[in-house]
């Protein structure tokens, strides 16, 4: 550290002398020497591309002899085929239009079969009267830069490919999902009658609310003739969701139809269904349903319809009367259908007079959430009050009102809901006061 202070003069003098010598050497470096040995390639061509002059650096890079190049090759001949195509379609036209072009990435052929990535800039030299004379071109070795760019490009290609695959997978999943939903919708429709048959002297209406298109619902209903005078109907709810539940629903529907033709007594029909389900689904994976099964017998002479029904574990039916009242039709003690080998079913009978409507429903409605959690459900009492309010309304109007109610409950209805209303038509001459209060 101190030595510089001890001998300052000789050192300064020496350093000064060597700097001067370096400058002298630099100044003596001729322009020709600089051209030939510059750290980049130089070449000059005629306007048609014929090489007129080329420096040693570029010849060295390409492993070529001057005499095989000058006057014999065109600039494009030094390029790879791909580079030549790019030169002809982009580089040359741009140079001719602009008079110069810079920083174009090309590849040159070297004497082996190697390629040298280069960055090329060219400018046209014009004569004093503006005629183009020759093209001056500078060539930089771009191996490192190109390697880096290739890396970037590969990453971009990889990323593009990954994105494309992800997009494809997403589209496939979307397509699978919509195909599945289509299949589910078809299956769901097969579980329900396409339309209800006309029953003389009885008005009917139904509504089915699907909570989720992904989960096959287990609610079902049907109405069909038994003989010339009587019709059977049923409505129920199979426990669970999905394909297994749908299979039970299908079995239930056809069992009840068959049983009813054999013996239309409601308790007998449910007992048959119980045996079938219990035998089919036994052990650790019990499958069962709740159902109300009934028989309608219109009596035109007395202007009334007799209804006999039995319930297996199903919420009680409601009857709305033309006088503006409504009541539960209790069937206490009726068992789930299919859960036990020997089940008890309770039956009851009522008569529908003009303006009376019988309503069957599944618990999707009564179990619908009215608040943020399951502590507040719509409930039986609210339903009874609602139906009382609409007592006297014909089945279609009753169902429309209930459908509106379901829509109002929105996301709170997280289970499928089936509604079936059967009514004895009010006399058309008399305008029911209960109907008018709806409006």
């Amino acid at each position: 550290m101190c030595r510089a202070d001890e001998h300052p003069e000789p050192r300064e003098a020496g350093a000064g002398a060597s700097t001067d010598a370096a400058f002298t050497a630099l100044l003596e470096d001729s322009a020709e020497e600089l051209y030939e040995s510059a750290p980049c390639g130089y070449l000059s061509t005629l306007m048609d591309g014929t090489i007129a002059k080329i420096n040693a650096t570029l010849l060295d890079w390409l492993g070529l002899e001057r005499e095989t190049v000058v006057g014999r090759k065109r600039f494009a001949d030094l390029l790879t085929v791909g580079g030549r195509l790019y030169h002809e379609t982009h580089f040359a036209p741009l140079l001719q239009m602009q008079g110069e072009i810079s920083g174009i990435a090309l590849e040159m052929k070297t004497c082996g079969s190697d390629r040298l990535p280069v960055l090329v800039s060219s400018a046209v030299k014009h004569s004093s009267d503006g005629e183009p004379l020759l093209i001056r071109t500078t060539v930089f070795d771009a191996s490192d830069r190109r390697a880096y760019e290739q890396e970037l490009l590969h990453r971009k290609q990889d990323a593009d490919e990954a994105r494309r695959q992800a997009e494809e997978a997403r589209e496939q999943a979307e397509a699978d999902r919509s195909r599945l939903q289509e299949a589910l919708a078809v299956l769901q429709q097969s579980l329900l009658p396409a339309s209800l048959p006309a029953v003389p002297g009885v008005e009917t209406a139904v509504y089915y609310h699907t909570a989720s298109p992904d989960r096959l619902g287990g609610d079902f209903y049907d109405l069909f003739p038994l003989d010339g005078k009587r019709w059977a109907f049923f409505l129920g709810d199979v426990c669970g969701k999905g394909p297994q539940a749908a299979a039970v629903t299908s079995l239930t529907r056809y069992t009840l139809r068959t049983a009813a033709l054999h013996d239309p007594d409601p308790v007998a029909a449910l007992t048959t269904l119980n045996s079938v389900l219990h035998d089919r689904y036994t052990g650790g994976d019990p499958r069962y349903c709740t159902a109300i099964f009934g028989v309608l017998e219109p009596d035109p002479a007395n202007d009334c319809v007799t209804v006999r029904l039995a319930s297996g574990g199903h919420p009680p039916a409601l009857v709305a009367r033309s006088d503006g009242t409504a009541a539960l039709l209790p069937t206490p003690g009726g068992f789930l259908v299919g859960a036990l080998a020997h089940a008890h079913f309770a039956s009851t009978t009522t008569e529908l007079h003009p303006g009376d409507t019988l309503l069957l429903y599944t618990d999707g409605l009564t179990e619908a959430r009215t608040g943020p959690d399951r502590t507040s459900l719509y409930g039986d009492d609210a339903l009874l009050a609602f139906v009382t309010d609409h007592a006297g309304a014909p089945p279609e109007e009753m169902i429309q009102a209930l459908a509106g109610l379901l829509r109002g409950l929105g996301d709170g209805v997280d289970d499928d809901t089936a509604l079936l209303a059967l009514g004895s038509p009010a006399h058309t001459s008399a305008h029911s006061p209960a109907t008018s209060h709806l409006r």
Partner: protein
């Protein structure tokens, strides 16, 4: 909606399971798996304590019936203790209140 929790212990009468939370479509398989792993001996009483059961839907009912079938097959009995009102209402609708012995609480259910 609350998750399902199951706490098990053994009483002199047999296993006791405390069921907490919601027993529904999304959680019923947990109780089912728990029951499947359970070994019941002849004459034992399987107690399901429902005091802190917040919600039970038809999937929950299915597991109760499966438990009943399992107990019956082992010559054991399934009983329910401290059934909350909302679940009791459902059991009544589907007739299961006639099938399962119901006790006010686990103490009553495990007294011999």
């Amino acid at each position: 909606m609350s998750p399902l929790k199951i706490a098990a212990r053994d009483a002199a009468t047999g296993p006791v399971l405390h069921i907490l939370g919601d027993l529904d479509y999304t959680t019923a398989h947990q109780l089912r798996a728990h029951l499947t792993a359970l070994t019941l001996r002849r004459g034992q009483r399987l107690v399901l304590d429902l005091a802190r059961l917040d919600f039970c839907d038809s999937s929950g009912i299915t597991v109760l019936i499966a438990a009943h079938n399992q107990a019956t097959a082992a010559h054991a009995t399934l009983v329910l203790a401290a059934v909350p009102d909302n679940t009791l209402r459902i059991l009544r609708i589907v007739g299961l209140d006639q099938l399962f012995p119901l006790y006010a609480d686990t103490t009553a259910a495990t007294s011999t």
